[in-house]
Symmetry: D2
Subunit: 430 residues, 4 copies
């Protein structure tokens, strides 16, 4: 189904060549200031035609709020969003070649297998335009998260082909054990990332390597993949729903639902499988006090009292956030549509050679950056509302006398009392 989320629920519609694309967002908190101006910036970051290395298809991608707000404030009712498909040009796809051949590794063939109907564009809803609704909805979620909790979500290009920002090494099979990497996660901003156009890799040298690589593939009518890393800071502890909807499971789901993705890793990821448990474990330390004024968020007091010294967990333990920065990486394959001639077969099972026309990116990674951020925002928003619901429900119950025979085993004095209080205190997060 074209719906994502249980509490902050996004339903999208639209394919590449229809009248418009858009979405309905159900569950946005009432009373939040919201206009198109809050949504448009991420739409524009996602937009095609941004540089010499992205598709020249020119879409203004102006979003228009249909419902759910009045006088610039959310009503709590469903928010309808619409973006016109202004520049459709279906003829590019209707040519004699594209109609005969399912494009290799594209969705043309599988859409026909699934639906038994062939849309003009082949795999209509596998178009990158389908992601417009996601980005728009993500921008709204992100606004709430920022206001209510000071959440910051920043994604950037981490590799293109075999050009890496932090290449794996024998010492650091996962970047998660590399302090330099962790420091970047603590400080990187979206503005910094956009300073490294067109690749969006926040390092001069790496960015140049990557840009050259993409240009090279573009010139050869070929394509190349890469990875996006994303960090989410200031997420309250306690988010993520055991057991099937662990936070990393929801993030993996959301990321692998983005077109062209092949892989996901949270925290130490695949590299972490090579790190001994004694190194990989994140020991607890007392959390530094956060001055409430600093973040400007409504609920800075909710930061937990413990934090971890390292962060191989990527901010999630047992499927639940611990308050540390969440970070993950997503792998994008090389785009399937390439200009090179390809030996393949027609729909009617004859061998032949396909040369694709149309407008295509040699690498989708830079444009994927805001899409990754949007999906991350949707996941965090949904799990936040779930946890706030739980805490709100719990807060109306009387305090427990004792939740487990803890005091028996506690060494003594004030600590025991304090601990008992802690056990009984309810969820102090969020």
């Amino acid at each position: 189904m074209s719906t994502f989320g249980q509490y902050f629920r996004v339903t999208t519609y639209g394919e590449s060549h229809c009248l418009s694309v858009g979405c309905i967002i159900d569950g946005c908190p009432p009373g939040m200031e919201l206009t198109e101006a809050d949504i448009q910036p991420q739409m524009t970051r996602r937009r095609p035609g941004q540089s010499a290395i992205t598709t020249p298809r020119d879409e203004k991608d102006r979003v228009e709020i249909q419902s759910g707000t009045e006088f610039g404030v959310t009503l709590g009712t469903p928010i309808g969003l619409r973006v016109m498909n202004e520049n459709q040009r279906p003829k590019d796809y209707g040519g004699s070649t594209m109609d005969l051949y399912p494009r290799p590794s594209h969705a043309d063939w599988t859409y026909l297998e699934k639906y038994g109907v062939k849309a003009s564009s082949g795999g209509g809803r596998s178009s990158a335009r389908e992601t417009i609704g996601r980005v728009a909805a993500g921008a709204i979620a992100e606004k709430y998260l920022r206001i209510a909790h000071g959440v910051e979500i920043v994604a950037f290009t981490a590799s293109i082909g075999n050009e890496f920002l932090f290449p794996p090494t024998p010492t650091h099979p996962s970047a998660s054990t590399n302090p330099e990497f962790l420091k970047m996660l603590d400080t990187i901003t979206r503005d910094t990332v956009d300073g490294f156009q067109p690749v969006r890799c926040p390092n001069e040298e790496a960015s140049t390597r990557m840009e050259n690589l993409i240009a090279d593939f573009r010139d050869r009518k070929d394509s190349i993949g890469g990875t996006v890393t994303c960090v989410i800071r200031n997420v309250p502890s306690g988010l993520g729903e055991p057991c099937f909807d662990k936070l990393e499971a929801m993030l993996a789901h959301s990321m692998l639902s983005i077109p062209a993705t092949k892989a996901f890793e949270i925290g130490s990821g695949f590299g972490g499988c090579q790190v001994p448990g004694s190194v990989h474990n994140d020991p607890f330390i007392k959390a530094p006090a956060v001055p409430p004024s600093q973040s400007g968020a409504a609920s800075t007091s909710s930061r937990p009292r413990l934090t971890t010294k390292t962060n191989n967990s990527g901010g999630i333990q047992g499927g639940i956030t611990n308050g540390a920065p969440i970070y993950f990486s997503v792998g994008f394959k090389p785009p399937a549509t390439i200009g090179q001639a390809q030996q393949t077969a027609t729909y009617d099972e004859n061998d032949g050679v396909l040369e694709a026309k149309g407008r295509h990116d040699p690498c989708v990674v830079p444009r994927a950056v805001p899409i990754v951020e949007a999906m991350a925002a949707l996941v965090i928003m949904d799990s936040l509302l779930a946890q706030q619901a739980r805490q709100s429900a719990r807060s109306l119950l009387p305090p427990l006398k004792q939740t487990l025979p803890a005091s028996e085993t506690v060494v003594g004095g004030e600590k025991a009392v304090e601990k008992a209080r802690e056990n009984n205190k309810g969820v102090n997060g969020v």
Copy 2:
């Protein structure tokens, strides 16, 4: 929520130290022969205490069907399943140390942050016993898939620490381009895998390397991670729901919901990001005819007429299966609970040293093999029922005269007619 799936819906309950664990399965097709004997084998493969390198906790894990069958046949009503927690020993966890410290990188701390109540076992439902319900439900799904479509699901250990079955190389950054790897995927069976106990890596030499590595970590009271690769053969084409519930998104969700997982990749995965599009693309070829008698499944005639020459896509294109084998890998971190002393902090924010007691695996990977298979079965089953519903609905509509102005652009003669027929044919898959 503790529910997985829309059509074949599994709801689980139970933590480590309660009376029983179990699940309710809603949506199992009626009229299928089913007894405990269909479920127990995978339960036993998952069971602790299987070898010197797994936890000595001894559970019989006998599953008992509560409802939903009569005279050994499914009624179509919810199937209740229950497994007693026979060997609870809560005292192991109630000791003075474990009660004072949240175990690093375990779920103790985050469960307390989330629920505000501390269970005896710390993160109660993050226990491996929670996976019992999944494995039981998966066995039922698997039986249907095998009967109805000849689906085969086989997982195996692909790496432990830095010991790999197919290590990445400059030529093959992803094993997906390695013919030897693809051949193994085509033929590997569960029996073969279980021939390589205790590691479940189907290669003598690699298996020995891995077993030694695990033993080494066990002896040092440390732990180590690894990866499981899983292949699913004979999956009908057309499965997977655009846009948010692409099949790889559902697989990623399901796999990252297994305790201790950190990473997921489908097909070429992260390595595929380094492969040029011109190599990565899977060209179409005419599919070989499959003699209907061969698989014994109810619907062998449903194989699509085209297949792909290579399979970097991992059997999924545009989020939809194309009929080729689906394969993916899952990364498991080193278990958090280790016997070594760890410098960390207590619940009440004091520094201290934790030495964990209790019974723990130095490596969860071998026991994870049937869990990965179970979750894969649940995903395929759910998406299969979704697609069968669609096709069944469509089959009652009259044939279309023409779905797009295809004949205008087609080169000529018989081809045009054949192609028009193809367009109108409906979904022939599943």
Copy 3:
């Protein structure tokens, strides 16, 4: 949430005074011919301004398909629908009076309690315009049901105030035991109903009584309620999901979600509570053969072999359809907004007198007729897809040898064989 249905899922947006209202329909079978012309007729039947006894607000209510079809055929992807709010006139509501007072028995007060934000129109989404998306989606469902199964859905006005088409009598506390009523249910058509404008009660004499009553209430600036009865013919047997989603439960849910409804009854309804079981029970009889050519539907062969002699059950037994006509009634209260002065209180707790302005119906019942039909179509469509999914899944299982020890208890010979076959035959409905 603003979503209805699991398989045929409708999500709506829009309130009275925003830019547009609309919906997204997810799960429509692919390959069905569909244009705006299929949807518009029911929109027009629902439209305000149809007669002297309905609100003069003039909306063209032209529906526009945004996505999900191409060349007039459904793609299987989400169908976006939009209807502009052309005639908004928010000033009618912004007057000094309406802004001070929550209208008695309207949603103004409860929306403010719920969302904490006051929309211009008071209870914005409780507006009758919210039903536009439902009617549009219902028209699409209805088209499929008609093509695939010959389903016919006809609603009509059954009472206005105390003027009844079939008043309850001591002999017939429920019309369900009245043969004349059942005969009307078998034959009534939408054309016949629309022949009795403006009330839509298909009986000359009753219609006149009702029209006069409404006119009387209109003239006194008062309002009056009434009931709509709806019949659904040719529904396959086997629809409805035990135990929480029985078909009557879904119908009740859907009907009570229509603004201004207060009551629902299926089959014999409240009156049936007074009928002895020996009379109320519907005995089985052999079903008459239906010539396949008659209905023109794709699957007439699916009619069950037994039917019932009477139909107090209203076509549903144990929550599941038995193939007989489904019928139910819905009670609509008198509209809350009346022109009469009302003694009430302001938002700030002061007593006062409210005289409502704006444009309002003295009775919503006639316009509710197509809304009831639409919601009925959505319920049947969703439960049909659920059951088709089940049957499709089951059809791939091998036949059972025997599902219960039936032959032991069966009297003899051919009957036993036939019966065993019946038990094993699978679901022959739909």
Copy 4:
């Protein structure tokens, strides 16, 4: 599906003749004291064999908590509940007669049409034993509602056959306009209701009439229906989700999902369709102050500042609670299984006469009382958690300066200020 609720989600399993029946409850707030003793009383009230006019089947119906609590406190994890089927006696149903005939108006025939498999008991999950899981789950919901908000839920028998507690009259076509009825709703308790055994109609004279009527039908091997009325007091304002999940829609859904129900009405109901709008409208008045000490609930301060003078709305306006008592009635048909001989047809289409054996109630209404209460509790709990989630989310947003240009239209001075504050105040309910 066998699942009810989104936030407080109940999944049930079990039919009449299997090993056990039970449920999983997901979403129960953590930190609530809970043992079997909280659940058993309602189980016992629902239990068969309570009097001479109910079925003699003797089941202890002892509920056993499987998971989700520790030391008598909820952990926030899924609560598994199980009740053994101790007294199965399948032979009663396996006789030569019951196996040949589908019982008229029972679920035997439709279950076979739906699933294609015949359970021993006929329509296995349409058994009254299926309601055990509902009652158990409802008892847990009820405990939370009582602790957190002082919610009181009381149902009682309102009619049996044509014997009414408050018969409709020309003056009061709906009891909702009868002050005596409203007074009873304000004060009736469960203890009072149980003082009128076995009928549970809280009026000596009416109770006797009803008991005699049931006994009469029992003696004639016939059956009779009736209605249950239920009141829910102290429900916070703001519950119910526009537009499809209005509170009355959820109540209707839940009630019509109880076996043998045929009708539902909220507030004035069908009778209210005959009441002029000018009478039916519930004018607002200032709410009386509630001393916080009175109810003992955690959040008495949440009562809204306005209430209604009358309550034809039944506590719900625009699908949302307004804080007034919610009340509704449910119609139960005469039980389908009767001892009388019935002329009907066999499964294999032959005419014949069926005389049912087995143990059956002549009237289900008295035993339905706790089931109606349980389903009401589930609906209120779910909608409460939904609204608490919304409010919790909203509470972290900064106050709005102004939500609509209200001050322009407001007459002046302090009132305008106060009103603007009101608009901006956020949801003060719950």
